[in-house]
Symmetry: C2
Subunit: 215 residues, 2 copies
DNA sequence: GTCTATATACAGATAGAC
DNA sequence: GTCTATCTGTATATAGAC
């Protein structure tokens, strides 16, 4: 797929909030090429071909390769950010709320899009310093913060003894991540089965609740 | 440092087990350039310059850019692998043994070399499938395996109730990793302080031992 | 084996017609 | 704004002298 053939305008997906439709085409094509080839190996030619526009048009909308890359990353980070609201968790029993958070988190970080963006952001972090921060704050930090808020509330209700809620949240997501994310980003294994995910979540919930049990 | 000046032969470090001294120079230079620029942005010119040899010499020792990259990754993975022996852990008290493993693991994955190799391997994993496996098996898997062996032994001695030692090991290293590794590879934060590391280890040890406490 | 010099392709970026 | 055609530098890789 997407061999070196004649490029056709794609309308599979729309990038919202842009002045021109061409800018959306370009951003979508750039995303595809950057995610597939990485920043260094991606070429402006390939992006123009994929977007079905000329390179001149491409440069009319974005000042250069770096700016285009930054625009792609920012747009994707914004898109991938979907937090669980406290209102969704509050009525649930403790263990069930943690399961819900865990599943949401794993769905997020194991999706092909998230893995692809993780790869390029990590690879280019030394050269695009602010993009690493954008990624971290839009994704992992939000999940940890909302979980930390939930844990703090649970501690106030006497369900747990959590002196450092944010660190406990990091422990929880760390336990989940460890199982699958590394193997996924290294290409060693594909997406885990639902049963594997369920087992990992159960174990993490069990260790966290026992680890921070009251008394 | 390392601006576009006259290259000089470096002898800071020796790459062992190579037939020719030039091959060692080349491999060392390639490592430096690949880690700094990433695979896609690195050039054979830059590597030849850094190694203070001509490009023809470079191609006399390695068949091309891909082969050189693979050689660098394999050599580094081999070098970074240093496991804790079971004999070192056996005489220690449980919590102290876990602290020792935790500190060893964090020292390993937070070192500048490990972070640099992680970045390039993750970035190129889709195109160099076997290198992801080499990295995983030489680093994280070994640590988890030896920790799992220790946990299984502890369970046999009645110190813990660990039904799945390997998964428990993954939880432990995941809790530790979560705190720092992501921020480090994203360039959001530098190396954490000793106090931060000590706190993370204490929390992880506490949660794991309570989570898998007997009874 | 190692060099200098070069072949060949393609990169990012732009000029100028429309 | 968008295109075609092109400029200029640099990429990987190699030929041929020593």
């Amino acid at each position: 797929m997407a061999k070196a053939g004649v490029a056709v305008a794609r309308r599979e997906e729309v990038v919202a909030g842009l002045p021109s439709p061409k800018a959306g085409q370009i951003l979508l094509a750039a995303r595809k090429v950057f995610m597939r080839d990485g920043y260094g190996s991606a070429s402006m030619d390939a992006i123009a071909r994929e977007a079905a526009v000329s390179k001149a048009t491409l440069y009319a909308h974005f000042s250069g390769k770096e700016a285009l890359f930054a625009a792609v990353i920012r747009e994707r980070c914004q898109h991938l950010t979907r937090s669980l609201s406290p209102a969704e968790l509050e009525p649930l029993e403790l263990a069930e709320a943690l399961r819900r958070v865990g599943r949401h988190f794993l769905d997020l970080i194991l999706s092909p899009e998230a893995v692809a963006i993780y790869r390029v952001v990590v690879a280019e972090a030394p050269r695009f310093k602010e993009l690493g921060r954008v990624f971290y704050e839009s994704g992992p930090m939000q999940v940890k913060r909302s979980l930390a808020d939930y844990l703090a509330a649970a501690a106030r209700r006497g369900l747990l003894a959590v002196p450092e809620p944010y660190l406990a949240a990091e422990q929880f997501v760390g336990m989940l991540q460890s199982h699958f994310h590394l193997m996924r980003v290294l290409g060693v294994a594909g997406r885990p089965s639902d049963a594997q995910i369920a087992q990992a979540i159960e174990l993490a919930v069990r260790v966290l609740t026992r680890g921070y049990a009251v008394g």
